[in-house]
């Protein structure tokens, strides 16, 4: 149909906006209440794998055991990997440039992804020892830890 070509392509801007509310569940609630009220970081213990998992969860993904026991981990940890992000996006709570890292907290077998700050970009390395900086006002979400910083 050739005649259709004479119409300029028509575009329209829209947003899909949804107000969501996610429940942290049994393990998540324990984790966030301990973090918010006591500044303690909890992991879930898998008795069968003999591992401590962060984030805490009610089922071990590997052996499918039901997990009920939490143990305190950290607060010190070691950087496993990191990146310096140079771009800004509306979903990011910080202005670039900033550092993301995966940090294995002492006593845990899996890492926590979070921000790393108060460090020169050139000085970050895998193996860096870090500790968390807690937010002054804590609301029961992952930003209750503001970021990690080197010891």
């Amino acid at each position: 149909m050739e005649e259709i070509k004479k119409y300029e392509p028509f575009e329209v801007d829209q947003h899909i906006t949804a107000q969501s509310r996610y429940y942290a569940g049994r393990m998540g609630s324990r984790f966030y209440i301990a973090l918010r009220d006591q500044q303690k970081i909890l992991g879930a213990k898998c008795p069968r794998c003999n591992k401590v998992l962060w984030p805490p969860r009610s089922t071990c993904g590997v052996c499918f055991s039901e997990l009920t026991e939490t143990v305190e981990i950290g607060p010190l940890g070691t950087v496993e990997t990191f990146t310096v992000v140079t771009y800004n996006e509306p979903v990011q709570p910080r202005k670039a440039p900033f550092i993301y890292a995966v940090i294995k907290l002492d006593g845990a077998d899996t890492g926590m992804a979070h921000f790393l700050d108060e460090v020169d970009f050139d000085e970050v390395h895998i193996g860096l020892r870090v500790r968390p900086v807690y937010a002054r006002e804590r609301n029961g979400n992952i930003l209750d830890i503001q970021y990690f910083k080197p010891l």
């Binding site: 998992l53 962060w54 990997t81 990146t83 979903v91 995966v102 294995k104 992952i142 930003l143």
Partner: protein
């Protein structure tokens, strides 16, 4: 497999930065019309069912197969929608035919990455309780993965940049590729840093496009084409979700998926038996990581293989002769495009990017989720 399934037709749009001229449905119809024309099949008479692959959040359409129901022949007929990246449509399409329910299946994957913001969409794939609020997207997650991979196996930025040089060079020979170029390692390493150590040229660009494919049972395939490509093996596997759950340099899920596919295909030594590979390089380093996961070399050995020229079009085991995803392929089409390009190599119809050796066995790999959490492997053969 006692029964066999073949790919009998493939159509791809030209991948473009933005297709402002067509809606998603119209873009899908381009490839559906073409694949039917190519095979001489009629939708109502010959096609038993259709499987589409797209994502609601990418399409901005709740239940995104609504937008393509008509063009894919869904009216009063069967159409099912897979999530993930299109390789899963091949995977499930093959199973559907092997089950005896269907003889001839139309697959189609489409995405218009230009119509939204990839970082926002990606961010919604991170669990909302522990990770999403931190603002992660696939790029920042990939940066964590490549850093770990480089650290663990001593891979250098120069070695990774060579993937870009090779693939964008190959893409020059591929008429559907969206971007290509004669680059040097130095040029790749001087492109702007996005999330260290990833640079702009390390990342597959935003692209619009669609791919369609027709699968048929052996009996039907023989009637449709003289040049069927047999699906010899399929495999899929999920890895753990949270970024800290796995060593990001590990390739556990891909090894398992490849293991299943190779067992089914009777491949004991992938390094020697596979003639060409199309792998998911939406970030440059992933080509190396996935080559290792597919067993095309030992762990940490992919970069050396690349440096030796073994993976070039003329090499011993060409990888991504199409230019791969770095040449520009839309996200939910990644996997179907990998399988399509691998099949074109087996057919000997890849045109200018046809590899210079006889292709008997090809492997295609698709992955979805950040850092390749879900892996899907398809082994194709001439016989």
């Amino acid at each position: 497999m006692a029964d066999r399934v073949a790919i009998v037709g493939i159509a791809q749009t030209k991948f473009a930065p933005k297709r402002v001229d067509v809606s998603c449905g119209e873009m899908a119809y381009e490839v559906i019309e073409e694949v039917l024309r190519q095979t001489g099949l009629e939708m109502k008479k010959d096609i038993d069912n259709a499987i589409s692959c797209s994502h609601d959040i990418w399409d901005g359409q709740t239940i995104s197969n609504i937008g393509i129901t008509d063009v894919i022949g869904g009216h009063l007929r069967s159409e099912e929608k897979m999530a993930l990246d299109g390789s899963t449509a091949v995977y499930y399409g093959t199973i559907g035919i092997l089950s005896g329910e269907f003889d001839c299946t139309l697959l189609m994957a489409h995405t218009k990455m230009s119509q939204t913001n990839r970082n926002i969409v990606n961010n919604d794939a991170f669990d909302p309780i522990y990770t999403r609020l931190l603002g992660f997207d696939y790029t920042s997650a990939a940066a964590l993965q490549v850093r770990r991979y480089m650290y663990k196996y001593g891979i250098t930025p120069e070695q990774i940049a060579r993937v870009v040089v090779k693939n964008l060079g190959n893409a020059k020979l591929n008429p559907v590729a969206h971007q290509s170029g004669n680059l040097t390692v130095a040029e790749v390493l001087s492109s702007p840093l996005v999330a260290s150590p990833l640079r702009k040229l390390d990342i597959a660009p935003d692209t619009d496009g669609a791919v369609a494919m027709i699968l048929a049972s052996e009996k039907r395939a023989r009637k449709i084409t003289k040049n069927p490509v047999w699906i010899r093996g399929i495999g899929a596997c999920y890895d753990a979700h949270y970024l800290g759950d796995r060593d990001l340099a590990d390739v556990f899920a891909l090894q398992k998926a490849a293991g299943q596919a190779y067992r089914m295909a009777g491949i004991k030594n992938p390094r020697r038996q596979i003639d060409v590979a199309e792998v998911g390089d939406d970030f440059s380093y992933q080509e190396l990581l996935w080559m290792e996961g597919l067993g095309l070399c030992e762990r940490g050995g992919a970069a050396k293989m690349l440096e030796a020229g073994a993976t070039e079009i003329k090499g011993r085991l060409p990888v991504n002769p199409s230019g791969g995803l770095l040449g520009g392929v839309p996200i939910n089409v990644y996997g179907l495009n990998r399988v399509a390009e691998a099949a074109l190599q087996v057919m000997g119809q890849a045109g200018d990017h046809q590899v210079k050796k006889d292709v008997k066995i090809a492997v295609a790999q698709g992955h979805s989720g950040f850092c390749g959490q879900h892996q899907c492997v398809v082994v194709l053969g001439k016989e």
